[in-house]
């Protein structure tokens, strides 16, 4: 049985690399990524699971990192926005003006990237279902939808 108590050295697989961090059980993945590893692409927004600005991929599925304990990430493959390197959805966001202030962008890109992995031929209903997990207060929704549509089959 795994037991973790207090600050503990742990190894997480982040963006394809095993990274050593120190975390206690009450630490959320969001703050471990940001404060321990300097991966600030995942943004703290509502910290209540509503806005999606902190979305990362866990085993290729989008997860709001504000609602995941760091210790739950042991043995999982974590991907953050920093782990994506000029993939099609990033280019599509630029070409379709899919952002304004940019605060929500990394979360939206992670969701869109996961959608393109799991449903490369997603229909409008599926796209809407996935995108509803994230909020953009600048209301770039149509441009974001254009971006994801441009890379799906």
């Amino acid at each position: 049985m795994l037991k973790i108590s207090g600050n503990t050295t742990l190894v997480l697989n982040i963006n394809g690399e095993d990274r050593e961090i120190i975390a206690k059980p009450s630490d959320t993945l969001l703050y471990t990524l940001r404060n321990q590893l300097g991966l600030t692409g995942a943004k703290p927004g509502c910290e209540n699971g509503d806005c999606g600005a902190c979305t990362v991929l866990v085993d290729d599925w989008p997860i709001k990192s504000c609602l995941m304990l760091t210790v739950e990430a042991l043995g999982k493959k974590i991907t953050t926005i920093e782990g994506l390197n000029n993939i099609p959805i990033q280019k599509a966001f630029i070409e379709n003006w899919g952002f304004q202030c940019g605060y929500c962008t990394s979360g939206f890109i992670m969701v869109c990237h996961s959608l393109s992995i799991h449903h490369p031929d997603a229909d409008e209903h599926t796209i809407e279902e996935w995108l509803q997990s994230n909020l953009c207060r600048c209301t770039s929704y149509q441009e974001i939808r254009d971006a994801i549509n441009s890379i799906l089959k």
Binding site: K3, K24, Y31, N48, G49, G52, V71
Partner: protein, 278 residues
Amino acid sequence: MIPFNFDYYKPNTLTDAINLYTELDSMGKSPIYYGGGTEFISMARVHNVHTKAVIDIKGIPECNIHVLKNTKLTIGSAITLTNIAIKNHFPLLSRTVKRIADHTIQDKITLGGNLAGTIIYKESLLPLMVANANIVLEGINGSRTVPIMDVFCKEMNISKEELIVQVIIDERYLNLPSLHVKRTKNEKIDYPLITLVALVDQGKINIAFSGLSDFPFRTKLLEDILNDESFSKDERIKKFINNIPYKILDDLAGSSEYRKFMLNVMLNETLENLQEAL
């Protein structure tokens, strides 16, 4: 950011989980079983829940079962709502869980967490109620399998150390004609004003609700009224609404009068949609 510390345990067996809970409880650590953790983390952040020990059940094999075998569908309590929707063994349950929170959160919420949480809506319970599902509980005295309706009657009636392990649904219910209707105050993604789930079994409608009262419910009294064809549709609906045995919620999401109005609309929709199957 959670403003207090706790110990984290991830047992590999049910026996270890139950023994651990009992031991930690006797030490005054107020342990909690942990599935997806979405409710726990959001409530802990604002001091609405406190514990000194979290027992993560996701390493227990029995809680991770998701299989249709020997005419029974068994779903472990650690199975996520996304996984339920993808496997889609029970389409009514799939449709219901796809309207709980949002798509990303569904990757984290577990069936057990939705059933055992403190949020009153527990929408995944509704399809299980109308399909007469059983629930498997593990406690200090071993395992017991009981009708889910016996456990969720106004509140969750289980011992504090008991762990929800699985739900079991008879295969014959999985593809019966059914309906899921969810109405919210404004946004599509929100807690329900009313969620209604109905299923036609042997020419009769089984029906359950969330958001109408401060707990999900299904009652024989109301089903008998709805299924009494000696009355017209309008008469049945009126009688149904006048005989709800529980206090109808009256809150910011909607007044009790508005909920009655909406229920009228939803019951009409139910009878129209399920007409052919009756």
